[in-house]
């Protein structure tokens, strides 16, 4: 069983929702980013989404755009993202890591080599935001060969007619984008999310994680009532921003602050069904 499947099976056994934490690799710099990454499981992250920085993150709101640019400015590369995962895996063999980003840096690295290197580093799955089912056939043979899950996105605009195309070839979990918008902008509406999850649950056995609009403990709690996991990204990346001055200088304390926020959000998600 894959690390992702195992983790969701364990959560199901405990009858609790999972918490998925997103941070951008290399943000605000390599070592701070590693400090945060290695602390995430103990803070309550059941799954880690690690963002691969890109100059043109067209599906991301201001917080994650800034995080990406900070990482790139600090000299981050795709190879360094894989290094972070490798270092993380030296001490943690069980927490799934999913890389999330855009296709061009993967295409530039070489799809086959990237999937192979990512698997060897300890990556479990990929979310490639701008690679819809219509276009991911060129990557899928490589993810399959490397044993990486392709995590597909379903959105409020994905209708019943289109859903089978989204689910065809999906593995790991299904990521439901809870708003029509970019990351971290609009507010989530738990009632419409619960409504949207019904047909998804009927159509797939994959666990469903919900994200894009979860900002607060109450959001996380509300989503965790119905979803298999709640994803928070922008709020964590914005927390890092608070420690970066206008001159780009980092003041101390960012890892502790981010991890403390993760602890609160994860506790809300974990406790939602009690």
């Amino acid at each position: 069983m894959s690390r992702i499947a195992q983790r969701f099976a364990d959560l199901k056994k405990q009858n609790r929702a999972g918490f998925v934490a997103f941070i951008t690799a290399g943000d605000p710099n390599l070592e701070t980013s590693f400090e945060i990454l290695k602390g995430l499981p103990a803070a309550g992250a059941d799954v880690i989404e690690l963002g691969m920085p890109f100059t043109d993150p067209m599906a991301d709101g201001p917080a994650i755009q800034l995080g990406s640019l900070r990482a790139l400015k600090a000299g981050h590369t795709m190879a360094k993202t894989l290094d972070l995962v490798r270092r993380f895996r030296a001490n943690d063999r069980t927490t799934p890591i999913v890389l999330m980003g855009y296709y061009n840096p993967i295409y530039s690295y070489g799809g086959e080599k990237f999937c192979k290197d990512a698997h060897e580093a300890g990556v479990d799955g990929l979310i490639v935001v701008d690679l819809p089912p219509e276009e991911d056939h060129e990557l899928r043979p490589y993810t399959k060969a490397a044993g990486l899950d392709i995590i597909r996105l379903s959105t409020p605009t994905t209708d019943a007619k289109r859903l089978p195309a989204v689910l065809d070839g999906a593995s790991g979990f299904l990521y439901y984008v809870s708003i029509t918008g970019v990351t971290g902008t609009k507010d989530i509406d738990p009632i419409s999310v619960a409504k949207a999850l019904k047909p998804l649950k009927a159509a797939t056995h994959l666990p469903i994680a919900v994200g894009f609009g979860i900002k607060s403990e109450s959001d996380a709690k509300a989503v965790a009532q119905t979803a298999d996991a709640a994803v928070v990204g922008s709020a964590l990346v914005a927390e890092i921003s608070r420690f970066v001055g206008p001159d780009g200088k980092l003041s101390p304390g960012a890892p502790e602050a981010v991890l403390s926020l993760v602890r609160r959000l994860a506790a809300s998600a974990h406790g939602a069904r009690i």
Binding site: D56, A59, N104, P105, I106, Y107, E135, T158, R162, V182
Partner: protein
């Protein structure tokens, strides 16, 4: 890459929106259903004679088509070679070719029942053309424009505001056209119900590259017929400048299957290809994926997009339309380039010799036409697309020439 010569260069894209390796639909899932809708609506419009009739009527009476085919006699003498003809798309309403496409897209938006228009702009010409058609049809309009471009093109910013559009400055990334396009895509994802995104060039997810090409092909169709009427034959060469490549695609497309017409797309070489400060994605880039399509991109070794540079804000884009990428690989079109300095010289020469102040974008085409003319005999004909007028550029040019206005 060795590829068989096709029977026709005009059959693309395929059903999935690919021109060979290029094109496609690399967008977030939220947008997928929308671009599939757009494709259906566009196919239906194409099959409906009343859509083309309505478009033709607006092109004639509002845009001012057909645009003239003009024999540039003094430049012909100056260059001392073949006859130079200009397709005068700078005489269109709003001063550039951009409105051909905007008129087509807004009629499509109306057919689809969309009530809000968004667009990105670099030089501001596409923004002005979009704001113009939005005003004409009474639709609210938001134009995304990079902060740096807003500084370079203040007359166009004011024009857009006069036309009732909201110009939203984009401060992310490199603050130019590519970032304006990111921001427009983000707006579209956030306003899926009512919004129509009028993309200004032959790029973006399928069906945009084909749709924009079709609307711009009026340029080449007219020019081809006008040339036959005027000279009794086709030109030996057709030249157009390329940023994203919409005026070039519009000029070239009707000539693609005329093997005796050599086609030249002129990219912006900025300070020179060798300096790395340019906007020539074919000359200095490699295939990648950005803004919904695969094409040649300026990028670093790690697949991060590099900022383009050109004196012309309209060419300042790190990519190029996917059909151009394919025509480049197939060697049907010759892609060449001209530097900032060459364009500036051609800008002044054209003004003084022909009484036509070209936009800085087609000034690149004039510069290459001059080079090409020197290699061709007098009995040949070069057709060049004068795709925009230079009124918007006089402040930028004055600054480069050290003149205080």
């Amino acid at each position: 890459m060795s590829q068989m010569k096709p029977n026709s260069y005009k059959t693309g894209p395929d059903a999935q929106g690919h021109f060979g390796l290029y094109g496609g639909r690399y967008v977030a899932e939220t947008l997928m259903p929308l671009i599939l809708d757009l494709e259906r609506a566009y196919n239906a419009a194409k099959a409906d004679p009343s859509f083309q009739a309505e478009l033709d009527d607006f092109l004639e009476h509002y845009v001012g088509r057909p645009s003239p085919l003009y024999f540039a006699e003094r430049l012909t003498e100056n260059f001392g070679g073949p006859k130079i003809y200009f397709k005068r798309d700078e005489l269109n309403h709003t001063g550039a070719h951009k409105i051909n496409n905007c008129m087509g897209q807004i009629l499509l938006a109306r057919r689809m029942g969309k009530t809000r228009i968004i667009a990105e702009t670099g030089a501001g010409q596409h923004g002005v053309a979009t704001a113009t058609v939005a005003a004409r049809f009474g639709l609210p309009c938001v134009i995304y424009m990079g902060e740096d471009d807003i500084k370079r093109q203040s007359p166009n910013v004011f024009r857009m505001r006069l036309l009732g559009a909201e110009v939203r400055p984009v401060s992310s990334g490199s603050r130019t056209l590519k970032d304006a396009m990111n921001e427009a895509l983000r707006d579209w994802v956030s306003n899926v119900e009512n919004t129509f995104y009028i993309i200004g060039t032959v790029a973006g997810p399928h069906p945009y590259p084909a749709l924009v090409r079709d609307f711009q092909s009026v340029i080449g169709k007219e020019a081809r017929a006008q040339m036959l009427a005027r000279e009794g034959r086709l030109p030996d060469a057709a030249v157009a400048c390329i940023g994203g490549g919409s005026n070039a695609m519009g000029l070239f497309y009707p000539f693609l299957d005329d093997p005796d017409v050599a086609l030249y797309g002129v990219e912006a070489a900025g300070h020179g290809i060798e300096t790395g400060q340019h906007a020539a994605s074919l000359a200095g880039g490699r295939p990648g994926v950005l803004h919904g399509n695969r094409t040649y991109l300026l990028q670093d070794d790690d697949g991060q997009i590099i900022e383009a540079h050109s004196i012309s804000a309209g060419l300042d884009y790190p990519g190029i339309g996917p059909e151009h990428a394919w025509l480049h690989d197939m060697k049907r079109v010759n892609y060449v380039h001209a530097t900032d300095m060459e364009a500036l010289d051609a800008f002044q020469l054209c003004a003084k010799q022909e009484g036509i102040i070209p936009a800085l974008e087609p000034a690149h085409a004039v510069a290459f036409t001059q080079k090409l003319a020197k290699q061709m005999p007098k009995d040949k004909i070069i057709l060049m697309n004068m795709c925009g007028r230079g009124d918007k550029d006089i402040f930028a040019v004055a600054e480069r020439l050290g003149v205080k206005l």
